[in-house]
């Protein structure tokens, strides 16, 4: 077969036509049919979404005094792709931030999502580091600083347990169900109010869209992608009275313990002090190892919130529960007199009264006023463990008070099952009950629960779940959200029983045999009950619970001083401070008939 020139030309050009047609078809497919897909891919390439963090909600006290504020702070970001193969840049950055190059590389590796996505290397850098980085932009390609806000505490109030603090979101928090809207490196509430009201305080992220090049560098804004401004977090008004909180904190300085002050009318928390504490600003920036180990190794445990997390025996303050249980069940006759020789023999054991010489012949009122132990030893045995446990539970012991804080402890109300389990069936005696009668033994309560008890008695059984949040305010719309605390009614205790106990509580403060004379405030009738709880860790814990004014209860409190000694001496003066401060600021309205305190 010999081909002439013309057929060879036709064959070769035909072959070329075929190949070129294939190319044209391929290009038509890629550019015309798949064009839109590739357009999107190209947009994804060049458009970077930049998160604008919303300002976190501020925290105020009930009178609008700013307690927790935001302050600008600077963080350092790097673009991993640009630092690759540039050890000198990493080294310079490391020396600026006082880190090692290995640490920087480790942080990049840990937080990097893609080589072109900036990674936060260090937050809250010093002003010196910030100005160095700004001045040396040319020596530090791929390194830049971003603004972020950090918490600031403008008042003298410390209250770290209450405010809590922010921390970087953890892996598990990110994968949790509430993780919507969060990203790696975000700050979230870790403790206290910051954690409890995270969903309101956090706000909504905004987004800005920038055009980036292949190395992830921003080269301009994109008109066709409008940015979304962030929505600021909701402001939170606490029911706290800042001046009261501050005064108690100052009074408690150097001691261990605290105070919980509640508004009797609605369960709002007016003050919640736990000492020793620490400066909440410590956690506003990354805490140093030294400061952290000092906090966790401090024998006084400043990280612990003594008001809601720690458990103690309530001592004599708990006699009020036994009194009410006995009155309601009819097992205590308030007129019945008991002779107190200063001790009580039960079986082979002798239980002492706190007053060596004894109180002589006492009835219920006098027993509360003078805090006679012997009277209550006897009454405890009369009322019995079953009733005692049941009435303890009625007053919310052994259960969380449901305050809006994280990590509250429920405490422990022993009953027969508990003792059977703990000591074995029939291996424990009624001696346990004798101890429980005066708030000792295995009974464990939080100081906040005791404040709730005071509130419940003051209100004749009307009580509330204590609440710190007072108002949630949307700073954009000014819309305010007020959710009053849940109101509860302790059923099955008659008003006359409350009245009887309350009268005795007034005597405990101002009666001739009263144990809490140091709580007397001229012009207000104060009701209260002291407690001096023995404990295996040293001196007695001092308790004082009460409310004022007697005629129209407005505040209820529990003051607690760890190893403070006698309740009347160590705790009651703090209550006097509370009442006199509120009175002087005209926050207590005293009924005209009052003032018979002395």
């Amino acid at each position: 077969m010999v081909l002439n020139e013309r057929s060879k030309f036709l064959i070769y050009s035909g072959f070329l036509l075929l190949v070129f047609s294939a190319l044209v078809i391929r290009f038509a497919y890629v550019q015309l049919i798949q064009g839109e897909e590739y357009q999107e891919a190209s947009d994804r390439n060049r458009v970077r979404e930049i998160v604008i963090d919303p300002p976190r909600g501020l925290i105020y006290d009930r009178f609008g005094r700013l307690l927790v504020n935001n302050q600008p702070a600077y963080s350092v970001y790097v673009v991993p792709a640009e630092l690759k193969n540039r050890p000198e840049v990493v080294e310079l950055l490391a020396s600026t931030l006082r880190l090692t190059p290995a640490e920087i590389n480790a942080r990049i590796k840990r937080n990097s999502l893609s080589p072109v996505q900036p990674v936060k290397i260090e937050r809250q850098i010093s002003f010196e580091a910030l100005s160095f980085i700004k001045e040396h932009t040319l020596d530090l390609p791929g390194v830049f600083c971003g603004v972020e806000s950090r918490r600031e505490y403008p008042t003298m109030i410390r209250a770290p347990h209450l405010f809590g603090y922010l921390g970087e979101i953890t892996e598990s928090e990110l994968s949790g169900s509430k993780s919507a809207g969060y990203r790696q490196g975000d700050l979230v509430g870790k403790k206290g109010i910051e954690k409890r009201y995270e969903e309101f305080l956090q706000g909504k992220k905004g987004f800005r869209y920038a055009q980036v090049d292949a190395l992830g560098r921003e080269v301009g804004e994109l008109a066709e992608f409008p940015s979304k401004p962030p929505v600021p977090g909701r402001n939170l008004y606490l029911s706290l009275d800042a001046s009261l909180q501050e005064a108690i904190e100052i009074a408690m300085t150097g001691r261990r313990g605290g105070a919980a002050v509640l508004n009797c009318k609605n369960g709002e928390v007016l003050a919640l002090v736990s000492e020793p504490s620490y400066d909440p600003a410590l956690f506003a920036k990354p805490i140093s190892n030294a400061a952290w180990s000092e906090l966790i190794n401090n024998p006084a445990h400043p990280l612990y919130d003594r008001m809601v997390q720690s458990l103690y025996a309530p001592g004599s303050t708990y006699k009020l529960v036994l009194a009410l249980a006995g009155l309601q069940t009819g097992l205590i006759d308030p007129r019945e007199r008991v002779f107190c020789p200063g001790y009580f023999k039960f079986g082979r054991r002798t239980f002492k009264c706190h007053r060596k010489g004894g109180h002589g012949s006492v009835d219920l009122s006098r027993a509360i006023e003078a805090s006679c132990d012997v009277y209550f030893y006897r009454m405890g045995l009369k009322v019995g463990l079953e009733n005692w446990s049941a009435y303890s539970r009625k007053f919310g012991f052994g259960q969380r008070s449901n305050i809006d804080l994280i990590g509250e402890n429920a405490g422990l109300v022993p009953d027969e099952d508990y003792f059977d389990q703990r000591y074995g069936k029939n291996r424990w005696t009624k001696g346990q009950l004798v101890n429980l009668s005066i708030g000792q033994g295995d009974l464990l309560v939080t100081p906040l629960q005791m404040a709730c008890l005071a509130m419940a008695i003051a209100n004749n059984g009307h009580t509330f779940h204590p609440r710190l949040s007072y108002l949630i305010e949307n700073p954009v719309t000014d819309e305010k959200m007020h959710d009053p605390p849940d109101s509860l009614k302790i059923e099955g205790i008659n008003v006359e029983h409350y009245e009887r106990v309350k009268q005795a509580m007034v005597l405990a403060v101002s009666g001739p045999f009263g144990t809490a004379h140091s709580a007397i405030v001229r012009g207000v009738t104060t009701a209260g009950k002291t407690g001096t709880a023995q404990n295996p860790h040293g001196d007695d814990h001092a308790w004082f619970i009460g409310y004022a004014p007697y005629e129209d209860p407005q505040v209820a409190w529990c003051v607690f001083v760890e190893n403070g000694g006698h309740g009347g001496a160590a705790a009651a003066p703090i209550a006097r401070l509370i009442v006199s401060l509120l009175l002087s600021q005209k926050k207590l309205i005293v009924p005209t008939s009052s003032g018979a305190a002395d």
């Binding site: 070769y12 550019q31 947009d43």
Partner: protein
């Protein structure tokens, strides 16, 4: 050495010249756009200016090639060939490059002997198979002809420069076809290559063998031939692993990525993917000159050299792609017409060699940018940045135009 000859400038093929100048112009636009993304304006100017100056010098070289009589090329073909073989051997020992030996460095200038070898091989191969007494049906002559191409091809492969080696090997079938070798023999020559490529996968291998059997059946070849061809192909398939093992890692990666057996999003896969994104997002009319986000934001490496066509695709769209491919097609078809009309067998074969070289570059390069050809580092003629490749291609066009002006002359 300039010999005055009967040059007939009225016969100068203006459409080829027009196509070439336009392609270089489009190339300069695309290079400007791609480089402007990379460099400071000063460097940009110097790079853009360089390409322009190379083009101007190229016109001088091309004119010289056009004015020399074909007799001159015929006479010195073997000499050029010898020189280029020496250079190819020398570059293996003293050549530079990133772990490879592809070029000689003279100060700032790089010289790639493989560029010269392309031209020398076309001339020598043309001279040998057009010589009196050469009969490709004679096995000895056939062996010599194949060797002429195989030796420089193998040396270039050794550099290693798989792309250029393939360009050289690709000369054989079309030129032999043009020299009058029966298409069946060419089929026999090409079939082992197809088998080789297809044998990465059992199914494609089976299809290739079946196709070969079909051709053998329908052309009614003698049993002896059938057995020979089939043995050849099965052996080619069997040798695939052997040759495979001799390939460099990056070559294997390229082959595997191309065949779709390996994902390589950071390497060549990344390049091809970004190139497809660039071209695909160009749509019909493109994003406009210097408006291509893929190009301007440097998502694609080597965009002013091997991937310059993706700039065209992104910024000038399908329309730009059609224009460039159309210009190439016009240039090639006009060149084929010249080859068909040329009285001198040598000149005619030289044109076919030039056409084949340019066509191979165009098809492999543009196909690569949309993922239908392997990434082998073959630049796009006239458009890609780079002086020596531009000159080589202008010499090829010079040869085509030269033959065109003398197509009615006998050598």
């Amino acid at each position: 050495m300039l010999i005055r000859s009967e040059t007939d400038f009225r016969q100068l093929d203006k459409s080829i010249l027009f196509a070439m100048v336009l392609l270089v112009g489009i190339g300069l636009l695309a290079i400007y756009s791609a480089i402007s993304a990379y460099n400071t304006p000063a460097a940009l100017k110097s790079n853009f200016a360089k390409q322009f100056i190379w083009f101007v010098i190229g016109i001088g070289i091309m004119s010289t090639v056009m004015l020399l009589p074909m007799k001159y090329f015929h006479k010195h073909a073997y000499f050029f060939y010898g020189i280029s073989l020496l250079l190819l051997v020398a570059v293996l020992f003293v050549g530079g490059g990133k772990g490879v030996h592809r070029w000689f460095q003279f100060g700032a200038l790089k010289f790639q002997p493989s560029e010269v070898a392309k031209i020398a091989t076309i001339l020598t191969f043309s001279r040998f198979i057009s010589s009196e007494g050469c009969d490709l049906r004679n096995y000895r002559h056939m062996a010599i002809a194949v060797a002429i191409v195989f030796v420089p091809g193998a040396l270039i492969f050794k550099q290693p420069d798989l792309g250029t080696a393939l360009v050289i090997f690709a000369l054989v079938p079309p030129m032999m076809f043009w020299a009058g070798l029966s298409p069946f023999i060419i089929f026999v020559m090409i079939s082992p290559v197809l088998t080789f490529i297809s044998s990465f996968n059992y199914y494609t291998f089976l299809i290739a063998i079946l196709l070969i059997c079909a051709v053998l059946y329908f052309t009614r070849r003698p049993v002896r031939t059938v057995i020979f061809v089939l043995t050849l192909n099965v052996m080619a398939g069997a040798f695939t692993p052997v040759i495979w093992n001799r390939l460099h890692d990056y070559q294997r990666t390229r082959v595997l990525t191309f065949v779709g057996l390996q994902e390589d999003p950071q390497g060549t896969g990344y390049q091809v993917n970004q190139s497809k994104v660039a071209i695909g997002s160009g749509g019909f009319f493109g994003k406009g000159w210097q408006e291509g986000s893929q190009t301007q934001l440097r998502f694609l490496p080597e965009q002013h050299t091997d991937f310059v066509f993706s700039v065209v695709g992104e910024e000038f769209g399908f329309f730009g792609v059609m224009v460039v491919l159309g210009l190439f097609f016009m240039l090639l078809i006009r060149a084929l017409q010249i080859a068909a009309q040329t009285k001198s067998k040598f000149s005619s074969l030289v044109v076919i060699g030039c056409v084949t070289t340019i066509a191979f570059h165009v098809v492999i390069n543009t196909g690569m940018t949309v993922g239908i050809a392997p990434v082998t580092g073959i630049p796009l003629p006239f458009l890609s940045y780079g002086g020596s490749a531009l000159w080589t291609n202008m010499v090829l066009v010079g040869l085509i135009l030269n033959v065109g002006m003398r197509r009615f002359e006998y050598l």
